[in-house]
């Protein structure tokens, strides 16, 4: 009589689970193939491409004004900032000087976008950790920014407000007042975020010392944005390579050196404060003037190659344009921050628990359309 019961040694047995493409914690259609030993993550292989749209190929057949509308669809939470990269690249190539007013408005809008994006990150990070209430708190406040956008721009998510040479249209007369009201409101409400999540013991235990990445690795992985600054990688392009009004306003580059999930969390919370500071410095001083310079209806960039880097909400966003003097770019490459950040995921989550993988993913705050492009 042989009862064949294979008692496998669990310590040596790895098994694989598919997180995604439909999974609540991947914030979109990303598929992570996770090898587990018990609850411990041994290997994470991201499988991208579920919403690959070939934007880079599409750009080769679109004029520069049209490309603006595609860059919205990359990182939809920092749509304006991606727009700005293309706009500045084109303006630099044509050597067009945009009016001061445009620079002011662009910078304010960028920072509003950054706050809105970080609010949504906070919502989903709380949710990843299991604190569902965060989601509604964050969305409640984000709604106020979207209302401001809606009034001036017309859209709420995919904005396409900037255009080479300026803006699509002028800001709404209420804009200044509403932004000031929002800043006043949000200065009061942001400490509430800390009360709900930051100070929570469970949250701190869940995030401290989890998903460690050293500064060297962060640089090597191109791990930029708030995630990189959590490791002490000074990569804030608003400081390093200023554009817009950033060289003229006073703000700090938030740096934490711990390199864990909690540091990345704190960077983003602190960045919201800094963004508010930037907006406050600019909002009262928006100069009068035209909101756009007159551009030719068909823009032809002179032959050559142009690269523009901007600080997106999740890291360095870059546009590399090679032009052959036509109305379409010969090649347009988009450097997406999320793609580089994702490449570090395996290193970050090695030997952590499944729950930590979710927390780390939340702290990287990846946006899948930006990874897939």
């Amino acid at each position: 009589m042989t009862v064949k019961l294979q008692i496998k040694n669990l310590e040596e047995q790895e098994y694989t689970i598919n997180m995604g493409p439909q999974h609540p914690s991947t914030h979109g259609v990303l598929r992570l193939v996770v090898s587990l030993k018990g609850e411990i993550v041994k290997n994470v292989q991201p499988h991208c491409g579920y919403i690959h749209r070939g934007i880079e190929k599409m750009c080769e057949k679109l004029t520069y004004q049209q490309i603006i509308h595609l860059t919205d669809r990359l990182d939809y939470l920092s749509a304006l900032i991606s727009n700005e990269a293309v706009c500045i690249a084109v303006e630099e190539a044509l050597e067009v000087e945009v009016p001061e007013r445009v620079k002011y408005i662009r910078t304010i809008m960028d920072e509003l976008t950054r706050i809105a994006s970080h609010q949504l990150w906070w919502c989903s990070f709380g949710m990843d950790l299991g604190g569902l209430t965060c989601f509604f708190y964050g969305l409640r406040d984000r709604e106020k920014i979207l209302d401001i956008f809606e009034e001036s721009i017309g859209g709420r998510l995919i904005l396409s407000y900037y255009t080479p040479g300026g803006l699509m249209n002028d800001i709404h007369p209420n804009f200044k007042q509403r932004v000031k009201d929002f800043i006043k409101y949000f200065r009061k409400i942001l400490p509430e975020y800390d009360q709900l999540l930051t100070g929570n013991v469970i949250m701190q235990e869940r995030t401290k010392g989890i998903g460690l990445i050293s500064k060297e690795d962060a640089i090597s992985f191109g791990f930029t944005g708030p995630s990189g600054r959590g490791s002490g990688f000074s990569c804030d392009l608003r400081k390093q390579h200023p554009y817009g009004m950033y060289s003229k306003v006073d703000f700090k580059e938030v740096l934490y050196t711990e390199g864990d999930t909690f540091a990345r969390y704190k960077v983003r919370i602190a960045e919201m404060w800094e963004s508010m500071k930037i907006i406050e410095q600019l909002i009262d001083n928006i100069p009068e003037g035209p909101y756009s310079v007159k551009m030719k209806p068909i823009i032809k960039l002179p032959e050559g190659e142009y690269y523009q880097r901007v600080e997106g909400c999740r890291g360095e966003f870059g546009v590399y344009i090679e032009s052959r003097g036509e109305k379409f770019p010969y090649r347009l490459k988009l450097r997406s921050p999320n793609f580089s950040n994702l490449s570090a995921l395996n290193t970050l989550s090695k030997d952590q628990k499944i729950a930590d993988l979710v927390a780390i993913g939340g702290s990287l705050d990846y946006i899948i359309p930006d990874i897939d492009r």
Binding site: E39, G130, L132, F136, Y137, I202
Partner: protein
């Protein structure tokens, strides 16, 4: 008909007597069983549904929104509509599942919570069974619910379910110790395990007041461990939706899912009932020795209202926890139990025994 809202003893005896007078013992017994069964089933369903409603309203309130408000006044019939929807939903057939266990599992979960309800004293004389070992019985019965979760997780043949089942197994088995020991603390104080007697002993003050510090510690531990045992946030690792989609009931649909759902809420109700009964005096009104007028005034509120009120408060606390705290990680969860709650609990029992032996009475 001797109906008295302050004492149901005569009422239940009257039903019993009139049944045995009117028909043969066999049929009397069948009738009695059926009546109790139907009453409990109805109670179970209504409480379960309205706990879901309460949770949605409370969570809405905490999250700055209104919650259900379309079906009926204040969305009062929303959960009933949900139940009808769940009843009509397709039961998804899983190809490679172990069908027998897959179908049995929700029933095991729901039956164990049903068994526990039988021993809870709802009001004076309103009791299905008054066991001599009431507290022990409750612990015994509640220890079986985990089998349903384990079977559900394993038989779904899904890795997420399996991880969820493992987690819930480890979690419930560990936290059972804390639940048991914190109840033992009160049993030491009361000197009995019979629930009706435990309630009766709190006539001159609830145990949480009478029991000095150890009773208070035991209450905190009981609530913590109780939340963990019912798999609710912040201890809802077994169904951690951001990690495991839905844990052990990922593959369930329709009414079988509703069973898990209902059982979760009923388990919460049971834990709250036990806490109310053992620590807060069950249906016993709030009494303080010496304050005769106050005590008399409190007696006017019917016991059933007292019982429901106390349970509701504890349930509210549990819901408050869930919607405020993030979720723990599995190793932190087990550390909390084995490294903190259990040693504190053991020490607490000793302290309580010492106090009882010394005969220190608060009042």
């Amino acid at each position: 008909m001797p109906f008295n809202i302050y004492d149901f003893t005569s009422f239940t005896q009257w039903i019993d007597k009139s049944l045995y007078d009117s028909c043969t013992p066999f049929w009397a017994m069948i009738w009695e069983m059926s009546i109790i069964g139907v009453v409990f089933l109805a109670f179970y369903a209504v409480v379960g549904l309205y706990l879901v409603y309460a949770e949605r309203k409370i969570c809405g309130f905490i999250q700055c929104r209104v919650g259900p408000n379309r079906v009926g006044p204040y969305g009062f019939f929303q959960t009933i509509a949900d139940l009808i929807k769940l009843l009509m939903k397709e039961l998804i057939y899983i190809k490679n599942a172990d069908k027998v266990l897959f179908n049995i599992a929700p029933f095991i979960v729901i039956i164990t919570s049903f068994l526990a309800i039988a021993a809870i004293p709802f009001a004076k004389g309103l009791h299905a069974i008054d066991f001599d070992i009431g507290v022990f019985y409750l612990m015994a019965v509640s220890s079986m619910g985990v089998i349903g979760l384990l079977l559900a997780g394993w038989s779904s043949n899904n890795k997420y379910s399996l991880i969820g089942a493992m987690r819930s197994g480890a979690q419930i088995v560990s936290y059972e110790l804390s639940v048991g020991l914190s109840l033992v603390t009160i049993v030491v104080l009361a000197g009995t395990m019979q629930l009706s007697q435990i309630v009766e002993l709190q006539r001159d003050g609830w145990f949480i007041f009478k029991g000095h510090i150890p009773a208070f510690i035991a209450f905190i531990i009981f609530i913590t461990a109780g939340i963990a045992e019912t798999n609710r946030g912040p201890f809802d690792l077994a169904e951690a939706e951001s990690e495991l989609t839905a844990g052990y009931h990922t593959e369930y649909s329709g009414i079988k899912f509703a069973f898990f759902f209902l059982a979760e809420y009923m388990n919460m109700f049971i834990i709250a009932s036990i806490a109310a009964t053992v620590f807060w005096g069950g249906w016993m009104p709030l009494h303080f020795p010496g304050l005769e007028n106050f005590n008399h005034f409190m007696d006017f509120i019917p016991p059933f209202i007292w019982y429901i009120g106390k349970t509701a408060v504890i349930i509210f606390i549990m819901m408050w926890f869930k919607w405020t705290f993030p979720r723990l990680r599995i190793d932190q969860l087990l550390n909390l139990e084995w490294k903190y709650l259990l040693p504190i609990n053991l020490f607490n029992v000793l302290l309580m025994a010492f106090i009882v032996l010394k005969g220190w009475e608060l009042f």
